[in-house]
């Protein structure tokens, strides 16, 4: 009986296997990614559409865990000689990937060798700049991009009678009012503590996070974020933490539920938080630009992106590269970019897609979806606001968070904490420089 079932199952498996193996030689392109939920559906749809649009190549997307897991899986696979063709790597992994000359195939080279039409100027510079060399050669293909915005619970702000704050002093005042009127545990808060309070803060005020254009111009970069602006900002947070006018919500985005639940009425985090806000918030909300300090000259500058890009791995055949190049062209298509933008809340990466979304009136009823784009394009990026390229960035962020936590807990002063964060970070950067391929 059992055996008969087994036989039947095997027969079914065999026929399925046979029908899946195509009659023609189709070149398979493995795509490892880190998207879950609705964004995973977007990835699957993109691959399915591409596979349906032509018959020579087949893109196979595989979910490999969160960003760090996906990157580690890709690195391990490369060491074992089985790297995927395309790997989605978060923005903070950029320096690590870039340093791996030979392990990756720069996108600009890929497109040129495959003879695909490719104009790097078609992409929004605030986005493509993060993934390009200082000469403007695009190394990886921007896929999902976001930026930091300030999510605001409009109902609660109205209740306490404050406008959406524009500057940091206004934000602190609004938070104080919220704290004293019904939000005793959280006036305002943020996710990704270092991204918001060090990386974006520095770019937004046109001060360096690190020397050599934040690492874009070389691995011998030194951290410099223990300057007066960053220290002043952290001092303020420490002061407000005491009565929870500001309340720390952890290193990553695990505290975001505090906004959607209504506990924190002002919350700075990624614009990609949109999907969850829309699904869960039972109040009127919007996303405002990040606050700035009005006494800093020229502020606000422009924000930098978060998110991930697609890296093409090295050591594949010319035919495979041709397929990958075609897939990148396919992704750059204006309508497809608009689809990704609408379905995922991530930003369009081409100028044409942004213009078309605007033309269609997409931002009329959802102005908050344009906020990150306005921040990114606020001014021509300077060397302090083009992007970051620091090795070991994942662990760097952990080390910075550790020091910020010490300051918030009152164990160190803001200045001591940032000095220590810079010093410990520099040690790690030198370690990275030692191992990076020359």
């Amino acid at each position: 009986m059992a055996l008969r079932y087994f036989g039947a199952a095997a027969a079914v498996a065999l026929t399925v296997g046979m029908s899946a193996s195509p009659a023609f030689a189709v070149t398979e392109i493995q795509w490892w990614h880190a998207m879950t939920g609705a964004n995973n559906d977007v990835i699957v749809k993109l691959a399915t559409d591409f596979n349906a649009a032509q018959t020579d190549y087949k893109v196979i997307p595989t979910y490999k865990g969160n960003y760090a897991d996906t990157m580690n899986a890709g690195i391990a696979a490369f060491r074992a000689g089985n790297a995927p063709h395309i790997m989605q790597v978060f923005e903070v992994g950029t320096a690590t990937m870039m340093a791996a000359t030979g392990a990756v195939k720069p996108v600009y080279k890929l497109m040129a060798e495959a003879g695909e039409k490719f104009d790097p100027k078609a992409y929004l510079p605030a986005i493509s700049g993060y993934y390009s060399t200082s000469k403007g050669e695009m190394l990886s293909f921007p896929f999902n991009s976001s930026s930091t915005v300030m999510w605001v619970n409009l109902d609660e702000l109205k209740k306490v009678g404050v406008e959406i704050p524009k500057t940091w002093p206004e934000t602190f005042a609004a938070a104080k009012k919220l704290h004293d009127n019904g939000h005793p545990t959280c006036g305002f808060s943020n996710s990704w503590v270092t991204w918001v309070n060090l990386e974006q803060l520095s770019a937004w005020h046109n001060v360096p996070l690190s020397s050599k254009a934040n690492g874009l111009d070389g691995f011998d970069t030194k951290l410099e974020f223990n300057g007066p602006l960053q220290v002043k900002h952290l001092e303020k947070l420490v002061e407000l933490q005491k009565d929870k006018t500001y309340d720390y919500a952890g290193r990553t985005n695990t505290g975001e539920g505090r906004f959607t639940s209504g506990e924190c009425a002002i919350y700075l985090t990624s614009s990609a938080f949109f999907g969850n806000v829309k699904a869960q918030a039972k109040f009127n909300f919007t996303a405002a630009p990040m606050p700035y300090y009005p006494d800093v000259k020229g502020a606000p500058q422009n924000s930098i992106i978060g998110g991930a890009s697609l890296w093409v791995m090295g050591g594949k055949s010319a035919d495979e590269y041709k397929g990958i190049a075609k897939f990148m062209t396919f992704l750059s298509d204006t309508d497809r970019q608009i689809y990704i933008h609408k379905a995922s809340g991530y930003l369009p990466i081409t100028k044409a897609a942004y213009a078309k979304a605007k033309e269609e009136g997409f931002y009329k009823d959802q102005p908050y979806l344009e906020t990150p784009l306005l921040e990114l394009t606020n001014k021509e990026p300077t060397e302090n606001s083009r992007g970051l390229r620091l090795g070991n960035m994942v662990q760097l962020r952990d080390v910075w968070s550790e020091e910020i936590e010490q300051a918030l807990a009152g164990k160190k002063t803001a200045k001591q904490a940032l000095d220590a964060a810079v010093e410990r970070g520099n040690t790690m950067l030198r370690q990275f420089e030692k191992t990076a391929v020359k």
Binding site: I75, Y248, R251, D398, E402, E405, F432, T435, V437
Partner: protein, 293 residues
């Protein structure tokens, strides 16, 4: 009776142990050897550039104050976890050992938590004690305690110890129950007739007779706290706040996988390996020799 088996062929015994040997070699010695080799190398994450640096990775570690802090912290965690889970388990085992109605159900329920994977334990405790989501944290706040393990290192450490100890209670409970069952009832009866009260009977009869079990469990618990708490730490605190919950194993992970510093990570693994070898050695020397079953 002759204990030795006699094989006709000289090769047969080797052939019979070969599968077992192969498993041990491939899955234990091979990776361990790799770790030792890696610990002498300086290499980027992709393995594209490699240089042999002798003991630099070890020297860097021993000149790093953070590493010593992690060692001290790990030992503190291990003892706190071992002592708390052992004492609670012993108490529960003694209570469960008494004849009572529904005793087997009670015993079964106490064993359940052992089946829960460490990361799940972490998530469960987060639900109870997360500063803004947690059920228990609300009561703590109402009781006037400023419960915020996101910023208070001692509270975060307490949280990890609680969760890790809780998971290990079942395992200890099981062994204590077996240990208690193996103590002859006549010894208790004799002590009772001599007029020893329950507390005295516990300290003079039960505890000494259980001591081999306790010692065995102590070693097992310390090894557990050294290694298996990784999942709990990773889901609950990721080493924070500050570095107050970074243990040796967490540091191996964070330096190797998050930091891409494989050489240092390998050197740390080798040091951990030595520690476990020592612990196991102690266990063999003292436990196996003293106890005759």
């Amino acid at each position: 009776m002759q204990k030795q088996a006699i094989f006709q062929s000289k090769l047969l015994p080797y052939a019979l142990v070969a599968p077992q040997l192969a498993i041990v070699l491939i899955f234990f010695y091979w990776p361990a050897a790799q770790a030792v080799i890696q610990s002498f190398l300086l290499q980027d994450a992709f393995g594209l550039s490699t240089s042999f640096v002798w003991f630099d990775n070890y020297l860097d570690l021993f000149s790093d104050a953070a590493y010593f802090e992690a060692i001290v912290r790990t030992f503190f965690f291990s003892f706190a976890i071992a002592v708390s889970s052992l004492s609670v388990a012993l108490l529960l085992a003694i209570m469960a050992d008494k004849p009572m109605r529904g005793g087997s159900l009670y015993r079964t329920l106490l064993i359940w938590p052992y089946a829960v994977a460490p990361p799940v334990v972490g998530v469960l405790w987060i639900f109870m004690l997360h500063p803004s989501l947690g059920v228990l944290s609300r009561y703590l706040r109402e009781a006037g305690i400023d419960w915020n393990p996101l910023l208070d290192g001692n509270q975060a450490a307490t949280l990890i110890i609680l969760a890790a100890a809780w998971k290990q209670i079942s395992y200890n409970f099981l062994f204590f129950l077996a240990g208690l069952a193996s103590i002859p009832k006549s010894v208790f009866e004799a002590a009772a007739i001599d007029g020893a009260r329950p507390m005295r009977r516990f300290w003079t009869v039960t505890f000494p007779l259980l001591s081999p079990t306790i010692f065995f469990l102590l070693v097992v618990n310390i090894v557990y706290a050294f290694f298996d708490t990784f999942g709990i730490i990773d889901t609950m605190t990721r080493g924070g706040p500050g570095t107050s919950t970074v243990t040796l194993v967490y540091k191996v992970y964070s330096d190797g996988l998050l930091g891409g510093n494989l050489g240092s990570s390998a050197a740390q693994s080798v040091i951990l390996m030595v520690m476990v070898i020592v612990l196991t050695g102690i266990q063999f020397r003292f436990v196996e020799r003293k106890v005759t079953y």
